[in-house]
């Protein structure tokens, strides 16, 4: 039983990272119906940027003089902004021209963009895993036989808090409404005076910034990263977004946690070598039996 609870904790924290990535997938898909295949790599870039920023703070000899919270805030904000910029650039350079093209076209460029980002990271930091500086002290609490670490709490709290903020943003602000309007009908949104290019870019910015948070948090949580990290994490997060109902913010979160649990319980109680297979099997099953996801809406085909 303790083992089970421990695995649930593992699953939740893993799921929190998937959820943060899934939010970006779901937002971008919601607004331009594109599976932003490169999103997983933006997440990895989040870790890379965090490492670079901490490195810079450290290099200037300030790391140990600065309060921990400030270091974290600067790193997090930096990673978010940089990832956001990467996302906006992706949209501008690789996707915008293809907004009205058949759907396969931007999907193929997305795959291409993913490869390009991976190789840029490989050029930058080499092909091997890179250690993530351990700036945050990891405190572990013991409840009977169950251990709970502050990092695990951090991941889950981060994910939930950002999802809540995102919900509020989308439903209660002017820009959020503009995003929803653009998602539903781009031309009509333009006729309301909404600058859709700006709105779509904003969506990419926010989605990518959230991936940046994911990258930062996962760096702290795992203590390392490498250039190819985003491939599988991205696929699993996409699975999470689909599972939750793509286009649905709460769904992405729910899906992320479910995928995290499935993976961790499979690894813990069946075998680690089947964990990935289990996740993809789940993806196939969801798409076949409930393509609209757990919280998604069923829409009729238009004729």
């Amino acid at each position: 039983m303790e083992l089970f609870i421990q695995q649930v904790i593992n699953g939740l924290s893993l799921g929190g990272i998937y959820a943060l990535i899934a939010l970006g997938y779901t937002m971008v898909y919601g607004i331009i119906e594109l599976i932003n295949f490169a999103h997983g790599d933006v997440y990895t870039m989040g870790s890379f940027f965090s490492i670079a920023i901490i490195g810079l703070l450290d290099a200037s000899g300030q790391l140990h003089g600065l309060p921990l919270l400030l270091v974290l805030a600067v790193t997090l904000a930096g990673a978010m902004i940089l990832c956001g910029i990467v996302g906006v650039l992706l949209e501008r350079l690789a996707y915008r021209r293809l907004r009205n093209a058949p759907r396969l076209a931007p999907l193929i460029t997305a795959i291409g963009a993913s490869f390009i980002l991976e190789n840029i990271m490989q050029l930058w930091r080499g092909p091997s895993p890179i250690p993530f500086p351990s700036v945050v002290p990891n405190v572990t609490w013991h409840f009977g036989g169950v251990n709970l670490s502050s990092n695990e709490v951090l991941v889950v709290v981060m994910a939930l808090a950002l999802m809540a903020m995102l919900q509020i943003f989308i439903y209660n602000t002017r820009l959020g409404k503009a995003m929803r309007a653009t998602a539903q009908d781009r031309d009509a949104a333009q006729l309301m005076g909404i600058n859709i290019n700006m709105t779509i870019a904003l969506t990419f910015f926010i989605g990518s910034a959230l991936a940046g948070v994911g990258g930062f948090v996962s760096g702290i949580y795992y203590g390392s990263t490498w250039f190819y990290n985003g491939f599988e994490a991205g696929l699993k997060a996409f699975t999470a977004a689909v599972l939750g109902g793509i286009g649905n913010v709460a769904g992405a979160m729910l899906g992320g946690f479910v995928i995290g649990m499935v993976e961790s319980l499979t690894a813990g109680f069946i075998s680690d070598q089947w964990a990935t297979v289990a996740v993809f099997l789940l993806l196939v099953l969801v798409l076949i039996f409930r393509p609209s996801g757990l919280l998604g809406e069923v829409l009729p085909d238009k004729v």
Partner: protein, 253 residues
């Protein structure tokens, strides 16, 4: 069983009732129509007939079979063809290829024939091309046989869609707002075409907003409003029906 009938058909999307308990029977050889404002459920009714949607309840009968919930290709094979409200041609195929694609369901080439281009396959391709050209002549588009569908003017596209639908030798042809956007002259031609189709032995069932056209060629009309059938009858009966006047035509009609 009837030649064609909707029997208490209901379709809901989520909590919304798009079509509610609609019954409508059409006799072979008729030109029948369904009218009503947008959102009244006319296109939904068509989509139910051709198998795009599955009825929530009720039954659809055609040619001694129940077809409610059957797949579009199955329904087409049984002998129902359709056109679309917003034209859905294969835009980057030529006119004749469009019509040949419409013949798909009456062709017999199997995988093996396709792979190896057997003599049987070649002969069939020739026959089907001729048949397609003949249909293009019927809708007066023979000169555009090798043009891409998307390069044709609007009115031609509507006619090409009808030719494509006829290629499957349908017993029942569904026309979804065939006169939309046509000027009076084009409408005259269309009425002639619809009658000619009926005279070839195909029953016609159409949705239309243009009251002139509907009243002129239909033998039977159903009126839909908010998903419910509020009247059914001959054009004369419909025009005099107080519920129709109140809900649809307005006092001035």
């Amino acid at each position: 069983m009837a030649f064609f009938a909707l029997k208490n058909v209901t379709k809901t999307f989520g909590g919304l009732v798009a079509v509610k308990e609609v019954s409508y029977e059409i006799q072979p050889g008729q030109i029948a129509a369904m009218i009503g404002p947008n959102g009244a459920g006319k296109s939904t009714a068509f989509n139910l007939v051709t198998g795009l949607y599955v009825p929530t309840s009720g039954e659809i009968e055609f040619d001694e079979q129940t077809i409610g919930g059957k797949k579009p290709d199955f329904v087409c094979k049984l002998g129902i063809a359709r056109t679309f409200q917003n034209i859905r041609l294969f835009a980057f195929m030529t006119a004749v290829e469009n019509v040949m694609a419409g013949r798909h369901v009456r062709m017999g080439a199997m995988l093996w024939d396709s792979l190896l281009h057997t003599p049987k396959q070649r002969a069939e391709e020739r026959r089907v091309r001729e048949k397609a050209l003949e249909l293009l002549r019927f809708v007066k588009l023979e000169r555009h046989a090798d043009d891409y569908a998307h390069n044709l003017p609007y009115g031609f596209q509507r006619r090409l869609e009808i030719a494509r639908a006829l290629a499957s030798d349908p017993k029942l042809l569904l026309l979804d707002e065939p006169a939309a956007g046509m000027n009076p002259r084009e409408k005259e031609d269309l009425m002639g075409l619809i009658r000619a189709i009926r005279d070839r032995g195909t029953t016609v069932f159409l949705i239309e907003h243009d009251m002139g056209l509907v009243m002129n060629i239909s033998e039977r009309i159903a009126v839909l409003d908010h998903g419910e059938k509020i009247a059914e009858g001959t054009p004369v009966e419909i025009r005099a029906n107080p519920r129709v006047i109140e809900a649809y035509l307005g006092k001035s009609a």
